[in-house]
C-alpha cells in the first residue's frame, strides 16, 4: 500500500496496545454496571406498583432511543452545573453502563418471560417468598436463554467505547486521535485502530456464537 509507513506503525503500536487495555477495562467496567443495573430495571418492571413499572419502562425506552454519545455529554456536563464534578472515566462508565443496562433489561425481560408459567405456580404452591421465587426458581432458568443476548451486548459495548474519547477518556480512539495530531499522520493510527477492533471483536463474536450453541445443546434445545 502506498504511503504506508511501517516504521511509524511499529513505533505507535505499543501506545495503541496500551490504550487497547484501557478500552477493554472501560468495556468491562461498563458491562458490569450494565449487567446489574439491567437486572434491577428488569425486575422493577415486574413489581405490582404500576407507577414504578411504567416509569422504568418509559426510561428504558428513552435510553434505548437516544444516542449514547449525547448521553455521555449529558452525564459529563450536567453534573458540574449542579456542583457535582465527575471525572471523564466516572461519567463515561455511568453513561455507557446506563445505556447498556437498558438493552440488557430487555434481554432479561425476554428471558424471564420464557420461563414456563407452571414454574411460577409451583413456586407459589410451595409458598416460596417472592425473593426465593426469583432468585432460586425464575432467574436460574431465565439466565441460559438470556446468555446469547448478553454476549452480543458485551461485544456491542466494546465497539461503543470509542465514543468515550469525546470527553477525553484515554481509550484507543482517543490515543489514535492524539497520535494523529502529534504527527500529522492519520492513515496508520486510524487503520490500526480498525484492525485492533476487528482482531478482538470477530473472535469475541465467534466465541459468543459457539457459547450460545453450547448452552443450547446443554439445555437440549437443539
Amino acid at each position: 500500500m502506498f504511503d504506508w509507513d511501517w516504521a511509524f506503525t511499529l513505533e505507535i503500536l505499543p501506545r495503541l496496545l496500551e490504550a487497547t487495555l484501557n478500552t477493554l477495562i472501560a468495556a468491562g467496567a461498563g458491562y458490569v454496571i450494565a449487567v446489574f443495573l439491567g437486572l434491577a430495571f428488569a425486575l422493577a418492571q415486574r413489581t405490582p406498583f404500576r407507577a414504578l413499572t411504567l416509569g422504568v419502562r418509559e426510561a428504558v425506552e428513552f435510553i434505548r432511543s437516544t444516542p449514547l454519545v449525547l448521553q455521555i455529554f449529558f452525564v459529563f456536563f450536567v453534573g458540574p452545573q449542579f456542583g457535582v464534578t465527575l471525572s471523564p472515566w466516572t461519567a463515561g462508565m455511568i453513561a455507557i453502563g446506563l445505556h447498556y443496562s437498558a438493552y440488557l433489561s430487555e434481554v432479561y425481560r425476554g428471558g424471564i418471560e420464557s420461563v414456563p408459567k407452571g414454574q411460577w405456580e409451583a413456586a407459589a404452591a410451595l409458598s416460596l417468598s417472592t425473593r426465593d421465587t426469583y432468585f432460586r426458581i425464575i432467574i436460574p432458568q431465565a439466565l441460559p436463554p438470556s446468555l446469547a443476548g448478553m454476549g452480543n451486548y458485551l461485544v456491542g459495548i466494546f465497539k461503543d467505547t470509542p465514543m468515550l474519547s469525546v470527553i477525553g477518556v484515554a481509550e484507543l480512539m482517543h490515543t489514535a486521535n492524539a497520535i494523529g495530531s502529534e504527527n500529522y499522520r492519520y492513515l496508520e493510527p486510524y487503520t490500526m485502530v480498525g484492525i485492533i477492533f476487528l482482531c478482538i471483536s470477530l473472535p469475541a463474536a465467534a466465541m459468543v456464537r459457539s457459547f450460545e450453541a453450547w448452552v443450547r445443546r446443554k439445555l437440549g434445545l437443539s
Partner: protein, 221 residues
C-alpha cells in the same frame, strides 16, 4: 434564565440542527437499504466471489465501530484520492455501517420465506430475477420489517456521531449552545428529547403503519 427563555433564544439553532439530523437520517437510510439489499443478496449467492466480498464487507463493518469507520472515511480516504465533503462522509459512513447490519436482516428475511414459494415460482417458469423481485422479496420484506424498525432507530442514533466531524447536526448544535451558555441540562436535555420524539413518535409509528400496509397488500392482515 427560564426554560422558555432558553428555548426562545437557542431553540432555532437546535431546530436547524434537527433538520440536518433529519437529512442525514434519510440519506443514510436510503444508502443503508441499498447496501443491505445488495450485500444480503450477494451473501446468498452461489458465486464464491460475490459471497466472499459480502462476507468481508459485513464482517469489517460490523466488527469495528461506527466512529472508527467515520474517522477513517473522513480523514484517511482522502489519502487514497477519495475526498468526501463532511456532510457526505457523515451519511456515507452511517449508511454503510447500518447497511452491513441490514444485510444480515435481508439474508434472514429471505431464508425465512417458505421453500414452497421458491418451488411454486419455479414451476410457473419465472426467471430467477422475476421470482426474487415478485415472489420472494415482498415476503422477505414483511418478515424483516419489525427488525428494520429497531435498525432505523440505531441508525438515527448513529447519525449523532457525524457531529464529531463537524457536520452541523442536532448533536453539534447542542454542543455549540452548551459551550456558549453552560446550561448543559437544558441544552443536552432538549436534544435528548428531540431524538426521543424522532424515534418514538416518528420512526416507530411509521414502521408499524408500513407493516400494516404490507400485511394488507399481501392478504395477511
Amino acid at each position: 434564565m427560564s426554560y422558555t427563555e432558553f428555548l426562545a433564544e437557542h431553540g432555532p439553532r437546535l431546530l436547524d440542527g434537527t433538520l440536518v439530523t433529519a437529512a442525514q437520517f434519510f440519506l443514510a437510510t436510503a444508502l443503508a437499504i441499498a447496501v443491505a439489499l445488495v450485500m444480503g443478496l450477494m451473501k446468498l449467492s452461489d458465486n464464491w466471489l460475490l459471497k466472499g466480498v459480502s462476507v468481508v464487507y459485513i464482517e469489517i463493518f460490523r466488527g469495528t465501530s461506527l466512529l472508527v469507520q467515520l474517522y477513517w472515511i473522513f480523514f484517511v480516504l482522502p489519502l487514497f484520492g477519495v475526498t468526501l465533503e463532511k456532510f457526505t462522509a457523515g451519511f456515507v459512513a452511517v449508511g454503510m455501517n447500518l447497511g452491513a447490519y441490514g444485510a444480515e436482516l435481508v439474508r434472514g428475511g429471505i431464508l425465512a420465506v417458505p421453500k414452497g414459494q421458491w418451488e411454486a415460482a419455479y414451476s410457473l417458469s419465472m426467471s430467477p430475477a422475476r421470482r426474487m423481485w415478485r415472489i420472494i422479496l415482498p415476503q422477505a420484506l414483511l418478515n424483516m420489517l419489525p427488525a428494520w424498525g429497531n435498525l432505523l432507530i440505531e441508525l438515527l442514533k448513529g447519525t449523532a456521531l457525524v457531529a464529531l466531524i463537524s457536520v452541523a447536526d442536532l448533536m453539534f448544535e447542542a454542543r455549540q449552545v452548551n459551550s456558549a451558555t453552560y446550561l448543559s441540562a437544558q441544552t443536552f436535555g432538549t436534544a435528548l428529547i428531540i431524538y426521543y420524539v424522532f424515534s418514538r413518535f416518528l420512526i416507530t409509528p411509521f414502521m408499524r403503519w408500513l407493516e400494516l400496509v404490507m400485511r394488507r397488500k399481501m392478504g395477511r392482515a
